[in-house]
Protein backbone atom coordinates (compact mmCIF):
# COMPACT_ATOMS: atom_id res chain seq x y z
CA UNK A 1 0.00 0.00 0.00
CA UNK A 2 1.21 3.50 -0.85
CA UNK A 3 0.44 6.20 1.66
CA UNK A 4 0.91 9.93 1.15
CA UNK A 5 1.14 11.70 4.49
CA UNK A 6 0.87 15.44 5.09
CA UNK A 7 2.62 16.46 1.89
CA UNK A 8 3.34 20.17 1.45
CA UNK A 9 5.09 21.73 -1.50
CA UNK A 10 6.15 25.31 -2.07
CA UNK A 11 7.94 26.91 -4.99
CA UNK A 12 9.70 30.00 -3.64
CA UNK A 13 6.95 31.75 -1.69
CA UNK A 14 4.04 30.02 -3.38
CA UNK A 15 2.46 27.08 -1.58
CA UNK A 16 1.07 24.70 -4.22
CA UNK A 17 0.22 21.70 -2.02
CA UNK A 18 -1.09 21.91 1.51
CA UNK A 19 -1.20 18.98 3.87
CA UNK A 20 -2.12 16.30 1.32
CA UNK A 21 -2.82 12.83 2.77
CA UNK A 22 -4.37 9.76 1.15
CA UNK A 23 -3.59 6.16 0.40
CA UNK A 24 -3.79 3.78 -2.53
CA UNK A 25 -4.64 0.18 -1.75
CA UNK A 26 -3.48 -2.83 -3.76
CA UNK A 27 -5.39 -3.61 -6.97
CA UNK A 28 -7.29 -0.35 -6.93
CA UNK A 29 -7.59 2.78 -9.05
CA UNK A 30 -7.66 6.16 -7.35
CA UNK A 31 -8.71 9.17 -9.39
CA UNK A 32 -7.24 12.60 -8.86
CA UNK A 33 -9.58 15.37 -9.97
CA UNK A 34 -9.32 19.10 -9.88
CA UNK A 35 -9.23 22.23 -12.00
CA UNK A 36 -6.11 23.26 -13.89
CA UNK A 37 -3.38 24.46 -11.53
CA UNK A 38 -4.90 22.65 -8.53
CA UNK A 39 -1.63 20.78 -7.88
CA UNK A 40 -2.42 17.32 -9.33
CA UNK A 41 0.67 17.14 -11.54
CA UNK A 42 2.93 18.48 -8.77
CA UNK A 43 1.62 15.80 -6.42
CA UNK A 44 2.27 13.08 -9.00
CA UNK A 45 5.76 14.43 -9.63
CA UNK A 46 6.48 14.23 -5.91
CA UNK A 47 5.31 10.62 -5.73
CA UNK A 48 7.52 9.59 -8.68
CA UNK A 49 10.56 11.42 -7.27
CA UNK A 50 10.81 14.18 -9.87
CA UNK A 51 10.14 16.80 -7.20
CA UNK A 52 10.80 16.47 -3.52
CA UNK A 53 8.17 17.51 -0.99
CA UNK A 54 8.82 20.55 1.20
CA UNK A 55 7.23 18.64 4.09
CA UNK A 56 5.52 15.32 4.67
CA UNK A 57 6.34 11.78 3.67
CA UNK A 58 5.50 8.89 1.38
CA UNK A 59 5.12 5.46 2.94
CA UNK A 60 5.33 2.08 1.24
CA UNK A 61 3.75 -0.75 3.26
CA UNK A 62 4.02 1.44 6.35
CA UNK A 63 7.71 2.37 5.87
CA UNK A 64 8.88 5.83 4.91
CA UNK A 65 10.56 5.89 1.51
CA UNK A 66 13.09 8.16 -0.15
CA UNK A 67 11.24 9.01 -3.36
CA UNK A 68 14.54 9.67 -5.13
CA UNK A 69 15.91 6.21 -4.35
CA UNK A 70 16.32 3.55 -7.03
CA UNK A 71 14.20 1.16 -4.97
CA UNK A 72 11.22 3.51 -4.89
CA UNK A 73 11.56 4.52 -8.54
CA UNK A 74 11.69 0.90 -9.68
CA UNK A 75 8.30 0.28 -8.06
CA UNK A 76 6.73 3.02 -10.15
CA UNK A 77 5.59 3.29 -13.75
CA UNK A 78 4.91 6.89 -14.78
CA UNK A 79 3.10 8.36 -17.73
CA UNK A 80 3.47 12.15 -17.52
CA UNK A 81 1.01 14.68 -18.88
CA UNK A 82 1.20 15.06 -22.69
CA UNK A 83 3.06 11.74 -22.95
CA UNK A 84 6.62 12.92 -23.71
CA UNK A 85 8.41 10.56 -26.13
CA UNK A 86 11.50 10.65 -28.35
CA UNK A 87 9.89 11.17 -31.73
CA UNK A 88 13.00 10.19 -33.70
CA UNK A 89 13.09 6.68 -32.21
CA UNK A 90 10.94 3.72 -33.17
CA UNK A 91 8.57 2.34 -30.55
CA UNK A 92 10.89 -0.66 -30.10
CA UNK A 93 14.00 1.52 -29.69
CA UNK A 94 12.22 3.71 -27.15
CA UNK A 95 11.07 0.74 -25.09
CA UNK A 96 14.57 -0.75 -25.23
CA UNK A 97 16.08 2.54 -24.01
CA UNK A 98 13.63 2.79 -21.11
CA UNK A 99 14.15 -0.91 -20.27
CA UNK A 100 17.89 -0.38 -20.00
CA UNK A 101 17.38 2.64 -17.75
CA UNK A 102 14.96 0.60 -15.64
CA UNK A 103 17.86 -1.83 -15.08
CA UNK A 104 16.11 -4.73 -16.80
CA UNK A 105 18.78 -7.31 -17.65
CA UNK A 106 19.85 -7.65 -21.30
CA UNK A 107 18.50 -11.22 -21.50
CA UNK A 108 15.05 -10.15 -20.32
CA UNK A 109 14.62 -6.96 -22.33
CA UNK A 110 13.21 -8.60 -25.49
CA UNK A 111 10.78 -10.71 -23.52
CA UNK A 112 9.72 -7.73 -21.41
CA UNK A 113 9.13 -5.52 -24.47
CA UNK A 114 7.13 -8.32 -26.11
CA UNK A 115 5.00 -8.63 -22.96
CA UNK A 116 4.14 -4.93 -22.60
CA UNK A 117 3.69 -4.51 -26.35
CA UNK A 118 1.13 -7.30 -26.28
CA UNK A 119 -0.61 -5.81 -23.24
CA UNK A 120 -0.89 -2.43 -24.97
CA UNK A 121 -1.56 -3.79 -28.46
CA UNK A 122 1.44 -2.20 -30.16
CA UNK A 123 3.27 -5.30 -31.45
CA UNK A 124 2.68 -4.27 -35.04
CA UNK A 125 4.00 -0.74 -34.73
CA UNK A 126 7.20 -1.35 -32.77
CA UNK A 127 9.38 -0.86 -35.84
CA UNK A 128 7.62 2.37 -36.78
CA UNK A 129 9.07 5.76 -35.91
CA UNK A 130 7.08 7.23 -33.01
CA UNK A 131 6.56 10.51 -34.87
CA UNK A 132 4.52 8.67 -37.52
CA UNK A 133 2.17 6.98 -35.04
CA UNK A 134 -1.37 8.15 -34.31
CA UNK A 135 -1.97 9.88 -30.98
CA UNK A 136 -3.69 6.75 -29.65
CA UNK A 137 -0.70 4.56 -30.50
CA UNK A 138 1.72 7.12 -29.07
CA UNK A 139 -0.26 6.97 -25.84
CA UNK A 140 -0.01 3.18 -25.88
CA UNK A 141 3.77 3.39 -26.38
CA UNK A 142 3.99 5.75 -23.36
CA UNK A 143 1.85 3.39 -21.32
CA UNK A 144 3.93 0.38 -22.43
CA UNK A 145 7.07 2.22 -21.29
CA UNK A 146 5.45 2.84 -17.90
CA UNK A 147 4.63 -0.88 -17.63
CA UNK A 148 8.18 -2.06 -18.31
CA UNK A 149 9.73 -3.85 -15.35
CA UNK A 150 6.30 -4.75 -13.94
CA UNK A 151 5.97 -1.78 -11.54
CA UNK A 152 3.67 -2.20 -8.55
CA UNK A 153 2.13 1.24 -8.96
CA UNK A 154 1.18 3.21 -12.04
CA UNK A 155 0.96 6.99 -11.99
CA UNK A 156 -0.93 8.24 -15.03
CA UNK A 157 -1.27 11.98 -15.60
CA UNK A 158 -4.26 12.62 -17.88
CA UNK A 159 -3.70 9.50 -19.98
CA UNK A 160 -6.73 10.10 -22.19
CA UNK A 161 -6.23 13.80 -22.81
CA UNK A 162 -6.41 14.76 -26.48
CA UNK A 163 -7.59 11.36 -27.67
CA UNK A 164 -10.68 10.78 -29.81
CA UNK A 165 -13.66 8.94 -28.22
CA UNK A 166 -12.65 5.53 -29.61
CA UNK A 167 -9.08 5.93 -28.42
CA UNK A 168 -10.35 7.05 -24.99
CA UNK A 169 -12.40 3.87 -24.65
CA UNK A 170 -9.41 1.73 -25.71
CA UNK A 171 -7.01 3.35 -23.22
CA UNK A 172 -9.64 3.29 -20.48
CA UNK A 173 -10.23 -0.46 -20.98
CA UNK A 174 -6.51 -1.01 -20.95
CA UNK A 175 -6.14 0.83 -17.63
CA UNK A 176 -9.05 -1.08 -16.11
CA UNK A 177 -7.40 -4.33 -17.11
CA UNK A 178 -4.12 -3.29 -15.52
CA UNK A 179 -5.71 -2.57 -12.14
CA UNK A 180 -6.16 -6.30 -11.53
CA UNK A 181 -2.65 -6.53 -10.14
CA UNK A 182 -1.50 -2.94 -9.71
CA UNK A 183 -2.26 0.21 -7.78
CA UNK A 184 -3.12 3.04 -10.12
CA UNK A 185 -3.27 6.76 -9.48
CA UNK A 186 -4.81 8.57 -12.41
CA UNK A 187 -5.51 12.24 -12.92
CA UNK A 188 -8.23 13.29 -15.29
CA UNK A 189 -10.53 16.12 -16.20
CA UNK A 190 -13.22 13.81 -17.50
CA UNK A 191 -15.64 13.19 -14.65
CA UNK A 192 -17.61 10.33 -16.26
CA UNK A 193 -14.31 8.59 -16.93
CA UNK A 194 -13.24 8.99 -13.31
CA UNK A 195 -16.57 7.67 -12.11
CA UNK A 196 -16.39 4.69 -14.42
CA UNK A 197 -12.89 3.43 -13.68
CA UNK A 198 -11.91 4.68 -10.21
CA UNK A 199 -12.84 3.06 -6.90
CA UNK A 200 -11.96 6.18 -4.98
CA UNK A 201 -11.89 9.83 -6.00
CA UNK A 202 -9.84 12.65 -4.61
CA UNK A 203 -10.72 16.21 -5.56
CA UNK A 204 -7.94 18.74 -5.14
CA UNK A 205 -8.60 22.44 -5.20
CA UNK A 206 -5.98 25.16 -4.73
CA UNK A 207 -3.50 22.62 -3.38
CA UNK A 208 -5.82 21.12 -0.78
CA UNK A 209 -7.90 17.97 -0.69
CA UNK A 210 -11.54 19.00 -0.98
CA UNK A 211 -12.93 15.47 -1.15
CA UNK A 212 -11.59 11.95 -0.63
CA UNK A 213 -14.39 9.43 -0.98
CA UNK A 214 -15.31 6.05 -2.45
CA UNK A 215 -16.78 6.63 -5.90
CA UNK A 216 -19.95 4.69 -5.22
CA UNK A 217 -20.74 6.93 -2.24
CA UNK A 218 -20.54 10.15 -4.28
CA UNK A 219 -23.90 11.21 -5.60
CA UNK A 220 -23.95 13.64 -8.52
CA UNK A 221 -20.21 13.97 -9.02
CA UNK A 222 -20.50 16.84 -11.51
CA UNK A 223 -22.46 18.99 -9.07
CA UNK A 224 -20.13 18.12 -6.21
CA UNK A 225 -17.09 18.94 -8.34
CA UNK A 226 -18.45 22.37 -9.24
CA UNK A 227 -19.38 23.09 -5.60
CA UNK A 228 -15.96 22.13 -4.31
CA UNK A 229 -13.84 23.80 -6.96
CA UNK A 230 -15.77 26.95 -7.76
Amino acid sequence: MLKVENINKSFKEKEVLKDISFEIKKNSIVGLLGPNGAGKTTLMRIIVGFYSASNGKILWDGKKVDTRSEKHKSRIGYLPENNPLYMNLTGGEYLEYISELKQISKEEIKEEIFKVAQQCGIQNVLSQQIETLSKGYKQRVGLAAALLGDPKILILDEPTSGLDPNQIIEIRDLIKGLSKNKMILISTHILPEAREICERLIIINRGEIALNEETKKIKNLEKKFVELTA
Binding site: F11, K12, R45, V48, G49, F50, Y51, S52, R68, E70, K73, S74, I76, Y78, P80, E81, N82, P84, L85, Y86, N88, Y97, I98, E100, L101, K102, Q103, A145
Partner: protein
Protein backbone atom coordinates in the same frame (compact mmCIF):
# COMPACT_ATOMS: atom_id res chain seq x y z
CA UNK B 1 27.89 3.68 -14.64
CA UNK B 2 25.49 1.52 -16.67
CA UNK B 3 22.98 4.39 -16.92
CA UNK B 4 25.70 6.80 -18.04
CA UNK B 5 26.70 4.43 -20.85
CA UNK B 6 23.06 3.85 -21.88
CA UNK B 7 22.42 7.61 -22.14
CA UNK B 8 25.77 8.19 -23.89
CA UNK B 9 24.94 5.48 -26.45
CA UNK B 10 21.63 7.15 -27.24
CA UNK B 11 23.28 10.58 -27.61
CA UNK B 12 25.97 9.15 -29.85
CA UNK B 13 23.29 7.46 -32.00
CA UNK B 14 21.35 10.76 -32.18
CA UNK B 15 24.21 12.46 -34.02
CA UNK B 16 24.35 9.73 -36.66
CA UNK B 17 20.66 8.87 -37.01
CA UNK B 18 20.05 12.08 -38.92
CA UNK B 19 22.16 14.01 -41.45
CA UNK B 20 22.84 16.70 -38.84
CA UNK B 21 25.81 14.92 -37.26
CA UNK B 22 27.48 14.26 -40.62
CA UNK B 23 26.75 17.75 -41.97
CA UNK B 24 28.18 19.45 -38.87
CA UNK B 25 31.33 17.31 -38.85
CA UNK B 26 31.80 17.73 -42.62
CA UNK B 27 31.30 21.48 -42.47
CA UNK B 28 33.75 21.87 -39.60
CA UNK B 29 36.47 19.98 -41.45
CA UNK B 30 35.88 21.76 -44.76
CA UNK B 31 36.16 25.21 -43.14
CA UNK B 32 39.18 24.32 -40.96
CA UNK B 33 41.04 22.67 -43.84
CA UNK B 34 40.22 25.46 -46.27
CA UNK B 35 41.51 28.09 -43.83
CA UNK B 36 44.66 26.08 -43.20
CA UNK B 37 45.56 25.09 -46.75
CA UNK B 38 44.85 28.53 -48.22
CA UNK B 39 48.09 29.71 -46.55
CA UNK B 40 49.94 26.44 -46.07
CA UNK B 41 51.89 26.38 -49.32
CA UNK B 42 52.69 30.12 -49.19
CA UNK B 43 54.41 29.75 -45.81
CA UNK B 44 56.33 26.69 -46.99
CA UNK B 45 56.54 25.32 -43.43
CA UNK B 46 55.05 22.12 -42.00
CA UNK B 47 53.70 24.04 -39.01
CA UNK B 48 50.45 22.77 -37.50
CA UNK B 49 49.96 25.69 -35.11
CA UNK B 50 47.71 27.62 -37.55
CA UNK B 51 45.68 24.42 -38.02
CA UNK B 52 44.96 24.08 -34.30
CA UNK B 53 44.31 27.80 -34.04
CA UNK B 54 41.69 27.62 -36.84
CA UNK B 55 40.25 24.49 -35.28
CA UNK B 56 39.76 26.16 -31.90
CA UNK B 57 38.12 29.18 -33.53
CA UNK B 58 35.60 27.07 -35.48
CA UNK B 59 34.99 24.84 -32.44
CA UNK B 60 33.77 27.88 -30.51
CA UNK B 61 30.77 27.94 -32.88
CA UNK B 62 30.56 24.22 -33.60
CA UNK B 63 30.38 23.01 -29.98
CA UNK B 64 27.57 25.42 -28.92
CA UNK B 65 25.66 24.27 -32.01
CA UNK B 66 25.91 20.56 -31.21
CA UNK B 67 25.39 20.97 -27.46
CA UNK B 68 22.53 23.50 -27.47
CA UNK B 69 19.91 20.73 -27.50
CA UNK B 70 21.49 18.40 -24.98
CA UNK B 71 19.31 19.36 -22.01
CA UNK B 72 17.12 22.11 -23.49
CA UNK B 73 15.31 19.66 -25.75
CA UNK B 74 14.71 17.19 -22.92
CA UNK B 75 13.19 20.07 -20.95
CA UNK B 76 11.16 21.38 -23.86
CA UNK B 77 9.67 17.96 -24.64
CA UNK B 78 9.38 17.02 -20.93
CA UNK B 79 11.30 13.79 -21.58
CA UNK B 80 13.57 14.66 -18.64
CA UNK B 81 10.50 14.11 -16.46
CA UNK B 82 10.31 10.54 -17.74
CA UNK B 83 14.07 10.02 -17.33
CA UNK B 84 14.23 11.39 -13.79
CA UNK B 85 11.28 9.26 -12.71
CA UNK B 86 13.37 6.20 -13.66
CA UNK B 87 16.08 4.79 -11.38
CA UNK B 88 18.63 7.37 -12.58
CA UNK B 89 19.80 10.65 -11.08
CA UNK B 90 20.80 14.06 -12.41
CA UNK B 91 24.51 13.23 -12.27
CA UNK B 92 24.09 10.15 -14.46
CA UNK B 93 21.91 12.06 -16.90
CA UNK B 94 24.42 14.91 -17.28
CA UNK B 95 27.47 12.64 -17.47
CA UNK B 96 25.76 10.39 -20.02
CA UNK B 97 24.90 13.35 -22.23
CA UNK B 98 28.41 14.77 -21.83
CA UNK B 99 30.06 11.45 -22.66
CA UNK B 100 27.89 10.86 -25.75
CA UNK B 101 28.62 14.30 -27.14
CA UNK B 102 32.32 14.05 -26.18
CA UNK B 103 32.64 10.84 -28.20
CA UNK B 104 31.10 12.58 -31.20
CA UNK B 105 33.60 15.43 -30.78
CA UNK B 106 36.46 12.94 -30.55
CA UNK B 107 35.22 11.30 -33.75
CA UNK B 108 35.14 14.70 -35.49
CA UNK B 109 38.63 15.62 -34.28
CA UNK B 110 39.96 12.25 -35.42
CA UNK B 111 38.64 13.01 -38.92
CA UNK B 112 41.46 15.56 -39.14
CA UNK B 113 44.04 12.73 -39.06
CA UNK B 114 44.49 12.63 -42.87
CA UNK B 115 45.53 16.30 -42.77
CA UNK B 116 48.01 15.67 -39.96
CA UNK B 117 49.46 12.69 -41.85
CA UNK B 118 49.75 14.77 -45.04
CA UNK B 119 51.61 17.54 -43.22
CA UNK B 120 53.81 14.95 -41.51
CA UNK B 121 54.73 13.33 -44.83
CA UNK B 122 55.44 16.73 -46.42
CA UNK B 123 57.56 18.29 -43.71
CA UNK B 124 58.15 15.89 -40.79
CA UNK B 125 57.08 18.22 -37.96
CA UNK B 126 57.88 17.20 -34.38
CA UNK B 127 55.64 14.30 -33.24
CA UNK B 128 55.46 15.80 -29.75
CA UNK B 129 53.92 18.95 -31.20
CA UNK B 130 51.34 16.90 -33.10
CA UNK B 131 50.34 14.95 -29.99
CA UNK B 132 50.31 18.17 -27.93
CA UNK B 133 48.06 19.81 -30.52
CA UNK B 134 45.67 16.86 -30.48
CA UNK B 135 45.48 16.75 -26.68
CA UNK B 136 45.06 20.53 -26.53
CA UNK B 137 42.22 20.60 -29.04
CA UNK B 138 40.51 17.66 -27.34
CA UNK B 139 40.68 19.33 -23.91
CA UNK B 140 39.54 22.60 -25.44
CA UNK B 141 36.52 20.95 -27.08
CA UNK B 142 35.58 19.18 -23.82
CA UNK B 143 35.83 22.52 -21.99
CA UNK B 144 33.58 24.12 -24.61
CA UNK B 145 31.19 21.20 -24.30
CA UNK B 146 30.96 21.56 -20.52
CA UNK B 147 29.93 25.22 -21.02
CA UNK B 148 27.48 24.19 -23.77
CA UNK B 149 25.74 21.57 -21.65
CA UNK B 150 25.53 23.97 -18.69
CA UNK B 151 23.93 26.78 -20.71
CA UNK B 152 21.64 24.24 -22.37
CA UNK B 153 20.36 23.27 -18.91
CA UNK B 154 19.32 26.84 -18.07
CA UNK B 155 16.48 27.06 -20.57
CA UNK B 156 14.23 24.91 -22.71
CA UNK B 157 15.09 26.95 -25.80
CA UNK B 158 17.97 25.58 -27.87
CA UNK B 159 18.73 29.01 -29.32
CA UNK B 160 19.34 30.36 -25.81
CA UNK B 161 21.82 27.53 -25.31
CA UNK B 162 23.61 28.36 -28.54
CA UNK B 163 23.81 32.11 -28.02
CA UNK B 164 24.59 31.86 -24.32
CA UNK B 165 27.48 29.44 -24.71
CA UNK B 166 28.81 31.27 -27.82
CA UNK B 167 28.96 34.53 -25.84
CA UNK B 168 30.67 32.86 -22.86
CA UNK B 169 33.23 31.21 -25.15
CA UNK B 170 33.82 34.42 -27.10
CA UNK B 171 34.44 36.42 -23.93
CA UNK B 172 36.69 33.66 -22.59
CA UNK B 173 38.59 33.56 -25.86
CA UNK B 174 39.08 37.35 -25.75
CA UNK B 175 40.55 37.03 -22.27
CA UNK B 176 43.51 35.24 -23.83
CA UNK B 177 43.98 37.74 -26.68
CA UNK B 178 46.54 40.53 -26.65
CA UNK B 179 43.86 42.96 -27.82
CA UNK B 180 42.22 42.72 -24.38
CA UNK B 181 45.26 41.87 -22.28
CA UNK B 182 47.06 45.02 -23.47
CA UNK B 183 44.33 47.09 -21.78
CA UNK B 184 44.50 45.50 -18.35
CA UNK B 185 47.04 46.35 -15.61
CA UNK B 186 50.18 44.22 -15.87
CA UNK B 187 49.62 42.53 -12.46
CA UNK B 188 46.24 41.17 -13.67
CA UNK B 189 47.46 40.13 -17.12
CA UNK B 190 48.66 36.64 -16.23
CA UNK B 191 45.60 35.95 -14.11
CA UNK B 192 43.07 37.00 -16.79
CA UNK B 193 45.02 35.35 -19.60
CA UNK B 194 45.32 32.18 -17.53
CA UNK B 195 41.53 31.91 -17.30
CA UNK B 196 41.23 31.57 -21.07
CA UNK B 197 40.84 27.99 -22.31
CA UNK B 198 42.17 29.02 -25.76
CA UNK B 199 45.30 30.46 -24.17
CA UNK B 200 45.86 27.22 -22.24
CA UNK B 201 45.16 25.09 -25.30
CA UNK B 202 47.70 27.08 -27.34
CA UNK B 203 50.34 26.05 -24.80
CA UNK B 204 49.68 22.41 -25.70
CA UNK B 205 50.00 22.93 -29.44
CA UNK B 206 53.30 24.73 -28.95
CA UNK B 207 54.56 21.68 -27.08
CA UNK B 208 54.42 23.10 -23.57
CA UNK B 209 52.30 20.55 -21.74
CA UNK B 210 52.12 21.42 -18.05
CA UNK B 211 50.37 19.88 -15.08
CA UNK B 212 48.96 23.33 -14.30
CA UNK B 213 47.19 23.50 -17.67
CA UNK B 214 45.88 19.95 -17.28
CA UNK B 215 44.52 20.72 -13.80
CA UNK B 216 42.94 23.90 -15.19
CA UNK B 217 41.08 22.02 -17.94
CA UNK B 218 39.92 19.24 -15.64
CA UNK B 219 38.76 21.76 -13.01
CA UNK B 220 36.95 23.80 -15.68
CA UNK B 221 35.07 20.72 -16.93
CA UNK B 222 34.20 19.54 -13.40
CA UNK B 223 32.95 23.01 -12.41
CA UNK B 224 30.60 23.35 -15.40
CA UNK B 225 29.32 19.78 -15.11
CA UNK B 226 28.63 20.36 -11.41
CA UNK B 227 26.82 23.60 -12.27
CA UNK B 228 24.71 21.66 -14.80
CA UNK B 229 23.74 19.09 -12.15
CA UNK B 230 22.88 21.90 -9.71
CA UNK B 231 20.83 23.60 -12.41
CA UNK B 232 18.79 20.41 -13.00
CA UNK B 233 18.27 19.93 -9.27
CA UNK B 234 17.04 23.50 -8.93
CA UNK B 235 13.70 22.51 -10.53
CA UNK B 236 12.54 21.86 -6.97
CA UNK B 237 12.88 25.50 -5.95
Amino acid sequence: MKNIITIAKKEWRNYFSSPVGYVFAGLLLVVVNWLFFSNFFIGGQADLNPYWSNFSLILSLFVPAISMNLIAEEKKNSTWEVLLSLPINEKELVLGKFLGCALYLLFTILLSLPVIITVYVLGKPDVGLIIGGFVGILLLSLSYLSVGIFVSSLSNQAIVGFLGSSVILLVNSLMGQEILLSRVPSFAKDFIGGLSVNFRSANFSSGAISIGDLVFFISWIIIFITLTIISLKSRNK
